[in-house]
């Protein structure tokens, strides 16, 4: 169990800056997700926490102890790699055992721990097989068993589920969360999948281009994104982002007029698909759109439409709702649910929505 | 039984037979090595089983330490490398032309240094002694002396197509006439020319034909070129005949890539009627179980001119730095191996005669009754015995180009020039002029 502090962490590869000035506090026992597109620096950060990559500058502290210069195995971390990497030429049992190489525990303890981990992850039947003989899900369980058997202070997972199919991913997600809660180990989980991030993490750290965009609970990240990047990256279907002008108490873009107060100028308006209503094409103040497709998700449906500038705009509609492709409609955002971002992508907080 | 042991026993038995009563004990002591060091003997690859048995016999009888191995590949070039590097080398095979070169480079200890020199000199046939003497020194002892370019005939095919002794050629012009006549009668491949791919292949083929036709290529004393471009001269006629033969298409190009083994085996396959060959290979061609024309290979007797040129091998002593005692041992071994053994017999040369019918430069070997018997065993017809001896005794030696330091440089040039003459339909006069120019260039290079 440990709390982790990253202080002004920086990593460069030659002229390329992978991580820049990262300050991050991870609480003891927390399940932290690091989310971002590929190349955003999340895996590099994880590797630095693990000790696999040397930080170019800055410090890493575990429970206020500076571990920046410690080799990986002295940090007492466990790591599960992309595609659940295991030693391909040795048995599952020996794979798990290697995690305990540098511990001084007794043989009996060792056996007990391995047995417990195997039991916990239900991998007893194939302890003597080679990783190549296992399915993806089984390998993932083995990799997890290998990680927990060490009883590490920090658990690091690098996109462990990305190579698995959707159904398996779903069940393993909850398994992992459940396990983490039972063990209470501080966990850092790297993913580019926002659904994984939303469903698993206590908190999510969203990264982009080597910088931390926002950190917060899934609820904060979802409902109150602090940048236009975070707003666009999270949520499925994604948030509608419309560029326009804010002046005279209205956000305007073509025919669209949303009554919002705020500092004038060019802004981006963000509104989630569930926060818009579909109207007639001619409804005043609505965004005129052309129906592109309707996706039926069962509990609800998503209307996808093109606006006059060729942007895709999405709206949640009732499951029985129908429209012809090519039909002209209007989209009307709920002013109270709209977010505004400035041209740098930062959230504009001083807004007041007026009743329409 | 192991062959080495077998050879040893056979050798010892033969020795016992030959030695008889005339055993001289003093000589026995003379030929025993004293230094205790190893004597290195290297040679090209020919009947290594016989050589090994010979060496084993010496080591056994004389308590010697002779190390024998073969050097394969481009023998003169590799040998020259070895000598240049002062490699461990005490006695080695060499052709007289190479030996001249090695002598001029200072790598050869001439046979004049041997205690038995006077006796050796008296034993040698004069034409061979002359061929092997360079700048007044005898370059080495006789390994073999043979005629390369003896015209052999496959009588089986020859007679099958209705030819008789009356058709046998008396000179090279008639050889070519006969070839075309045979071709006209339907023999696909009447002739196998001396054009194979070894360093003694096509170039020697040219030399022997020109010499037979009365040419010299270069002067025997001054080594100045004597090649003429006269259309009736031996040089022009040779190349003209070659050109015609090549363009007739009856010579397969594979001939140019044969090694000597391929050349011999091709004739032994019975496919060809006539070919200039090494005189002693008549034994190979007539050996049952090893040749398709066994018992039907004869030779063309000497007509207007001799057939072929002297092809000989010498046992040459090296001049490398070594202890005096070892040098003495080397001399003893060379004497024993290249001349007379402890019993006063020229045993090795006689043994080669028995084994492979290798001719020797020593009179007493060539004129011994065993030799006469051996030769008669290898020939097809009794009259061939006289034909062989006559050819052998009259074989010329191209001293102008072979008893000179640049011999081994001229030879590859000749090989390349002649094959491109045939392949690229070269001009005869230009080709001959190029040869003259090359000889002049080489003379200039060595200040001759």
């Amino acid at each position: 169990m440990a709390k982790i502090d990253l202080v002004k962490l920086r990593k460069t590869f030659g002229a390329y800056v992978a991580v820049e000035g990262l300050d991050l506090k991870i609480n003891d026992g927390e399940f932290l997700i690091m989310l971002g597109p590929s190349g955003c620096g999340k895996t590099t950060t994880l590797n630095m926490i693990a000790g696999l990559e040397a930080a170019s500058a800055g410090d890493i502290l575990f429970d206020n102890v500076n571990v920046t210069d410690l080799p990986p195995h002295e940090r007492n971390v466990a790591m599960v790699f992309q595609s659940s990497l295991l030693y391909p030429h040795i048995s599952v049992r020996r794979n798990i055992e290697t995690s305990l190489r540098h511990t001084t525990i007794s043989d009996a303890d060792r056996k007990r721990r391995i047995a417990e981990a195997a039991k916990m992850l239900e991998i007893e039947p194939f302890m003597d097989k080679l990783p190549g003989q296992l399915s993806g899900g089984q390998r993932q369980r083995v990799a997890t068993a290998k990680a927990i058997v060490r009883e590490p202070s920090v658990f690091l997972l690098d996109e462990p589920l990305s190579a698995l199919d959707a159904a398996l991913r779903l069940s393993l997600r909850s398994e992992l969360v459940n396990l983490q809660k039972r063990l209470g180990t501080t966990t850092v989980f790297v993913t580019h999948d926002q659904v994984e991030a939303m469903t698993m993490g206590d908190r999510i750290a969203v990264m982009n281009s080597g910088r931390l965009e926002q950190i917060g609970t899934p609820d904060e990240i979802y409902n109150s994104p602090s940048t236009v990047f975070v707003a666009g990256f999270l949520g499925s279907p994604p948030m509608n982002l419309l560029e326009g002008d804010l002046a005279g108490g209205f956000f305007r873009r073509g025919g669209l007029a949303v009554p919002i107060q705020g500092p004038g100028g060019k802004v981006t308006l963000g509104v989630r698909p569930q926060d818009v209503t579909v109207t007639e094409a001619t409804a005043p103040g609505a965004l005129p759109v052309t129906v592109y497709a309707v996706e039926h998700l069962g509990r609800e449906s998503v209307l996808i439409a093109d606006d006059d500038r060729g942007n895709k705009v999405r709206a949640l509609v009732a499951p029985g709702w129908h429209a012809r492709v090519g039909e002209k409609l209007g989209i009307m955002p709920d002013p109270a649910r709209c977010l505004l971002f400035d041209t740098n992508g930062a959230r504009i907080y001083e807004t007041v929505a007026r009743a329409a | 039984m192991k062959r080495r042991e077998f050879g040893l026993l056979a050798g010892t038995a033969g020795l016992a037979l030959m030695s008889g009563a005339g055993r001289v004990l003093a000589q026995d002591m003379d030929l025993k090595p004293t230094s205790g060091e190893t004597v290195y003997f290297r040679g090209w690859n020919f009947r290594t089983d016989v050589v090994q048995a010979n060496v084993a016999r010496y080591n056994e009888a004389m308590d010697g330490k002779v190390d024998y191995a073969t050097v394969t590949g481009d023998y003169p070039a590799l040998m020259e490398q070895n000598l240049m590097a002062s490699a461990e080398l005490d006695m080695f095979y060499a052709n007289p032309s190479s030996a001249c070169r090695y002598f001029d480079a200072g790598w050869v200890l001439p046979a004049n240094e041997l205690p038995a020199y006077a006796e050796i000199e008296a034993e040698l046939y004069p034409n061979l002694k002359d061929a092997w003497t360079y700048k007044g020194k005898l370059l080495g002892l006789s390994y073999f002396a043979s005629t390369r370019g003896t015209m052999v005939v496959n009588r089986k095919l020859f007679e099958e197509y209705g030819f008789t002794d009356a058709d046998l050629p008396k000179n090279w012009d008639e050889v070519y006439d006969l070839i075309y006549r045979m071709k006209d009668k339907g023999i696909e491949t009447p002739f196998l020319p001396h054009w194979f791919g070894e360093w003694f292949g096509i170039s020697w083929g040219f030399v022997l034909e020109v010499i037979n036709r009365g040419g010299t290529i270069a002067d025997a004393e001054t080594h100045q070129p004597t090649i003429t471009t006269d259309e009736d001269g031996p040089y022009y006629k040779t190349l003209a005949a070659w050109k015609k033969l090549w363009q007739s298409g009856m010579i397969a190009q594979e001939v140019f890539t044969f090694n000597e083994g391929g050349y011999i085996d091709a004739f032994a396959s019975g496919r060809y009627v006539m070919s200039p060959q090494q005189i002693y290979d008549i034994e190979t061609f007539n050996r049952p179980g090893r040749s398709q024309i066994a018992g039907s290979c004869s030779l063309v007797p000497m007509g207007d001119h001799p057939w072929g040129i002297i092809d000989s091998g010498l046992y040459v002593m090296s001049n490398r730095e070594r202890s005096e005692a070892l040098t003495d041992d080397v001399k003893k071994f060379v004497s024993w191996y290249g001349f007379k053994d402890q019993d006063g017999k020229i045993a090795i040369a006689q043994n080669w005669m028995q084994e492979n019918m290798l001719f020797s430069g020593y009179k007493s070997v060539m004129e011994s009754p065993e030799t006469a018997e051996r030769i008669k065993k290898a020939i097809m017809r009794p009259e061939d015995y006289d034909a062989i001896l006559k050819i052998y005794q009259n074989t010329p030696f191209p001293k102008g180009i072979w008893s000179v330091v640049w011999s081994e440089e001229f030879n590859p040039f000749l090989k390349e020039t002649l094959s491109s003459f045939l392949f690229d339909d070269g001009d005869i006069v230009e080709t001959l002029e190029a040869m003259t120019a090359k000889i002049e260039e080489l003379n200039g290079k060595y200040g001759i």
């Binding site: - | 062959r3 590097a85 019975g270």
Partner: protein, 286 residues
């Protein structure tokens, strides 16, 4: 379906004939009588299968069923010496090559460091160097050092061929191994113990192939051997064999000794063929 399999088996048959017929046509001579060897045209097959020539090349006489005796070859000493020297030299070369190349290739394949590209180019240069160009320099160097005609000298020279070639090959192979070093570092392996206890067992297929390639190169090396050890006590099989080519040809013995040279590599090939399919130079497509 039947048509396809007929076509397939036909293709297999053609491929097998293509691969072994040149070997057959030559090695057949080991079983032909000396007289049959001189037949024109040559026979397709030997009449009797007796192993006389194999006795001969190792120094024994052999009496054929037909009654004649073929004598032991005079090259037998050199053949025996060639086999022993060949096995000795090739084994040493193989071991040293692996000791040198495995860590080298590993480092080049899986680590990033400065000047890597330049050093890789140096290895490439060594691969490109034709033996015929370095023959004379080696020869004169060896004469000065007294190394010509020694097995040690031939081992050193052969290493200059095997090391760059095998390194080049193994670098590609190591690149494709899964990145277990990171896992190993988490588990507390040092770099050296990771290489020794994890990578080596994991890469055993590639290393086996590399070993066989090094052995073959050394076993079959001819050019250097011809100049450096030919005619000495350090001669190898190829130079000993070329002795059968000379003025007194013994094609039967030549063929028999060529068969002898093929046997060790062929045995390797049999054990190797299951490993070699793992030698992919590119990442598996997932």
């Amino acid at each position: 379906m039947a048509k396809r399999s007929i076509f397939l088996y036909l293709a297999i048959a053609v491929a097998i004939v293509w691969s072994i017929f040149p070997i057959y046509w030559f090695c057949r001579m080991a079983f032909l009588t000396p007289n049959e060897i001189r037949l024109f045209p040559q026979p397709f097959m030997p009449q009797v299968f007796e192993f006389g020539t194999f006795y001969n090349i190792f120094g024994y006489d052999y009496e054929y069923a037909a009654g004649y005796v073929s004598g032991a070859s005079g090259q037998s000493n050199q053949i025996i010496r060639g086999v022993l020297n060949g096995l000795f030299i090739s084994s040493i070369v193989t071991v040293i090559t692996l000791l040198i190349v495995v860590p080298l290739a590993y480092v080049f394949a899986r680590m990033e460091f400065r000047h890597k590209q330049k050093l890789l180019f140096a290895v490439l240069l060594a691969v490109a160097l034709p033996p015929v160009s370095t023959l004379i320099p080696f020869y004169s160097m060896y004469v000065q050092l007294g190394l010509n005609g020694t097995r040690f000298g031939l081992i050193v020279v052969t290493l200059t061929i095997t090391v760059p070639f095998v390194a080049w090959m193994l670098i590609g192979y190591f690149r494709n191994l899964p990145p277990i070093e990171r896992l190993a570092r988490i588990d507390g392996y040092s770099r050296t113990s990771c290489l020794l206890t994890l990578i080596l067992p994991l890469a055993k297929s590639g290393i086996a192939v590399a070993a066989v390639i090094a052995f073959l190169f050394s076993w079959n090396e001819y050019t250097y051997a011809l100049v450096l050890v030919n005619g000495t006590s350090a001669n190898t099989l190829p130079t000993a064999i070329s002795g059968f080519l000379g003025q007194y040809p013994e094609p039967g013995n030549l063929a028999a000794s060529v068969i002898v040279t093929i046997i060790p590599p062929a045995l390797f090939a049999y054990f190797l063929q299951r490993h070699v399919t793992e030698m992919s130079l590119v990442d598996p497509v997932r």
